[in-house]
């Protein structure tokens, strides 16, 4: 039996096909204005990879901001629960999940106490401020005139980290512009930005009771620079990084779909 998990985020859309023995196929697409169309395309791509057709999918769960716009999904669950379930599936000792997405960042606390498996006990999300989200990096990449995907590798070449002290996106933008004018290396500035984002996200995580192990999820975790800074800030706790951090929510959704179809 196969189930599908569809995660429609503000930046990207992911679909995971789950079968006996694990993930059979997945896809990642940029989210388009037409959410439904993107969701269809992503589903077909993932099914192609799994060599399956739509009729093979017994149940599907949609999550993410566009979750209510996926007409083929049987049920909608928030990305908070889905990321937690996905992270727990990949790393069963996970108790805290940190997810940095395009427009939201969140920290989730999980428990496995009780008879019926893992469940979310507490969570925190960013407020209207974009400082700890993928959006923040996007704005800064534009100011620095670099590809957002290069930010991670570039930051690793940093020799002298620059302190970006501003917590506010608007202030940080002006701070970065001054730094560019002062002829600081882009690499060093980027490294500083990664620290700033890690600090901001940490302020969310701290509001929960942080338990080990901590699993990092979400598209921004593809950025090695951010991951490194988070590891430093959270040290010495045990940190897990999934191979494909951005599909964890979709994995969680597919897992929940399996649960629903069985119950």
């Amino acid at each position: 039996m196969y189930t599908a998990g569809i995660d429609i985020g503000s930046v990207s859309t992911e679909v995971v096909i789950l079968g006996e023995g694990g993930v059979k196929g997945y896809s990642v697409l940029d989210s388009q204005v037409d959410i439904e169309k993107t969701a269809e395309e992503a589903l077909d791509m993932a099914l192609d990879m799994a060599r399956l057709g739509r009729k093979d999918v017994a149940y599907s769960v949609a999550t993410g901001y566009g979750r209510n716009n996926v007409h083929y999904a049987n049920k909608q669950v928030t990305e908070i629960t889905c990321h937690a379930m996905g992270a727990h599936y990949l790393f069963p000792n996970t108790r805290t999940i940190i997810d940095i997405g395009g427009q939201d960042s969140k920290a989730v606390a999980l428990t496995t106490d009780g008879p019926s498996g893992p469940r979310v006990v507490d969570f925190c999300m960013n407020d209207k401020c974009a400082a700890g989200t993928g959006r923040f990096l996007e704005v800064m990449a534009r100011v620095l005139d670099v590809d957002i995907k290069e930010m991670g590798p570039l930051s690793q070449k940093s020799t002298k980290e620059i302190n970006i002290s501003s917590m506010c996106t608007v202030f940080a933008e002006s701070e970065v512009i001054s730094l560019i004018h002062q002829k600081h290396n882009k690499e060093d500035i980027i490294s500083g930005l990664h620290t700033a984002i890690a600090r901001k996200v940490l302020s969310l995580v701290q509001r929960l009771d942080i338990r080990e192990e901590v699993t990092l999820t979400g598209g921004v975790m593809k950025n090695v620079g951010v991951v490194e800074k988070l590891q430093q800030e959270l040290s010495p706790r045990k940190i897990n990084l999934p191979e494909e951090p951005q599909i964890v929510g979709a994995i969680g959704a597919a897992l929940l779909a399996r649960k629903y179809v069985c119950s």
Binding site: V77, I80, Y89, G114, R119, V121
Partner: protein, 423 residues
């Protein structure tokens, strides 16, 4: 600024129109008669204050309206005015005006809406202004600025932080007496202690009914929607001391008793019972409708309806009013608030707490995490700090709020076995 009757008439007509618009607004529930009476009473009070010959005293949250009624004046509770303005959707231009004047968008929207409204001169003009040091820092400051603008006296009450210290009651009672006597001078009439005693008695009577209503709301399933109940703001309403409040609260009790007797549940089937802390979004009912209608999670009680003071002694009005003010759990160290929240959780068999945090509300935001952590030490109840705006609909994102509420309901569901999936 000289007031001409023509202006007052226009203001009155403007608000009458707004009120009629408001009454026609569709609701997700059929309100109790008492709630409708309450809403009418609030508007009547506002319209009264535009009448020639009316004396109006602007007050901030904790200034006891009892003393204002005792002088035959009408209290204008300014933050409550912003709530009304938001409900009838006239806030955006008021907020824009305040921003143009230079007020920061990071500050309290309740106060900024009033600042904008005063700039546009659509408010009933004050004869005097009274503020207290609680809730917030902004109040006394802008009241003094208003006082200068309207060329009227401003009286400031310092509510001691050490609410439980012996000297605090005396110190506050003395200030209350002083303010009342000064206000009487402004109104040009002698202070009538007997009148105040009568009003204290009426306030006591309403308190007894509202306490009874709060008790009735403990019933499972809840007889009343939070969406409707929260508007009573029993802890701070400016109707305290008015005969209307006695009538309204008596009617409320009767209606709740009737509902319980007939087995009417506000939310059917009642899945979860929530405690809501802080006020509400006034620009629409969406959040409450979503929780109570869609998720069947009834807001069983609200922190703003909490009555913490004891019955007042009409013979000692100032001392009693001081005690009433100081009984507020928002005063003093955060442990006082934690204690009350814990009590409400137990009294109302609460499954989860939603602590609303508007961006500009320093006072309430600042306690959120402290109270959450404090509760975690003694009670295992999910607690979510929800970023949500009270007044400015332009700072409300439906989807963002829904995702957070959905996730919170999933957390509550996870605790009730069988309600949601476990992997």
């Amino acid at each position: 600024m000289t007031i001409v009757e023509d202006q007052r008439k226009r203001q009155r007509e403007f608000f009458t129109l707004q009120f009629q618009k408001r009454l026609k607004r569709p609701r997700g529930y059929s309100p109790l008669k008492s709630s409708q009476a309450r809403e009418r009473a609030m508007f009547r009070l506002l319209l009264e204050s535009f009448r020639e010959g009316s004396s109006v005293v602007w007050k901030s949250t904790f200034v006891p309206s009892e003393i204002i009624y005792s002088l035959g004046a009408i209290p204008l509770y300014v933050e409550s005015f912003s709530a009304v303005a938001s409900a009838v959707d006239i806030c955006p231009p008021m907020l824009d005006t305040s921003e143009r004047c230079g007020y920061s968008r990071d500050s309290c929207t309740f106060l900024r809406a009033v600042l904008g409204a005063s700039h546009k001169d659509i408010l009933p003009r004050p004869d005097a202004l009274v503020s207290t040091s609680y809730y917030c820092d902004g109040d006394p400051k802008i009241f003094d600025i208003f006082a200068e603008e309207y060329k009227k006296p401003h009286f400031y009450l310092h509510v001691p932080y050490a609410a439980e210290a012996g000297w605090a009651i005396e110190a506050l009672a003395e200030q209350l007496e002083e303010v009342t006597i000064e206000l009487a001078k402004v109104m040009g009439k002698p202070f009538d202690k007997e009148r105040l005693s009568e009003i204290i008695q009426s306030s006591n009577e309403a308190r007894r009914y509202l306490l009874r209503a709060n008790e009735l709301r403990r019933h499972v399933p809840s007889p009343m929607l939070g969406c409707e109940a929260i508007d009573y703001i029993a802890s701070i309403t400016q109707l305290w001391g008015s005969p209307e409040l006695v009538r309204i609260s008596r009617l409320l009790c009767e209606e709740l008793e009737e509902r319980i007797e007939k087995g009417v549940a506000a939310v059917d089937p009642e899945q979860f019972r929530l405690l809501w802390c802080h006020l509400r979004p006034y620009y629409n009912d969406e959040v409450f409708n979503y929780l109570e209608g869609h998720h069947k999670a009834v807001v069983a009680f609200e922190s703003v309806n909490l009555i913490t003071w004891k019955e007042m002694d009409p013979e000692k009005p100032f001392r009693s009013l001081a005690e009433k003010l100081l009984a507020n759990p928002a005063i003093g160290p955060y442990e006082r608030m934690t204690r009350e929240v814990a009590r409400m959780i137990r009294d109302y068999q609460i499954d989860g707490v939603v602590w609303m945090s508007p961006w500009g509300c320093r006072h309430f935001n600042s306690m959120a995490q402290l109270v959450k952590d404090g509760l975690r030490r003694e009670l295992d109840v999910p607690f979510y700090i929800l970023d949500l705006e009270c007044i400015d609909k332009r700072n409300y994102s439906k989807e963002q709020v829904r995702t957070r509420l959905d996730a919170f309901i999933e957390v509550l569901g996870g605790r009730k076995e069988g309600c949601t999936p476990q992997v």
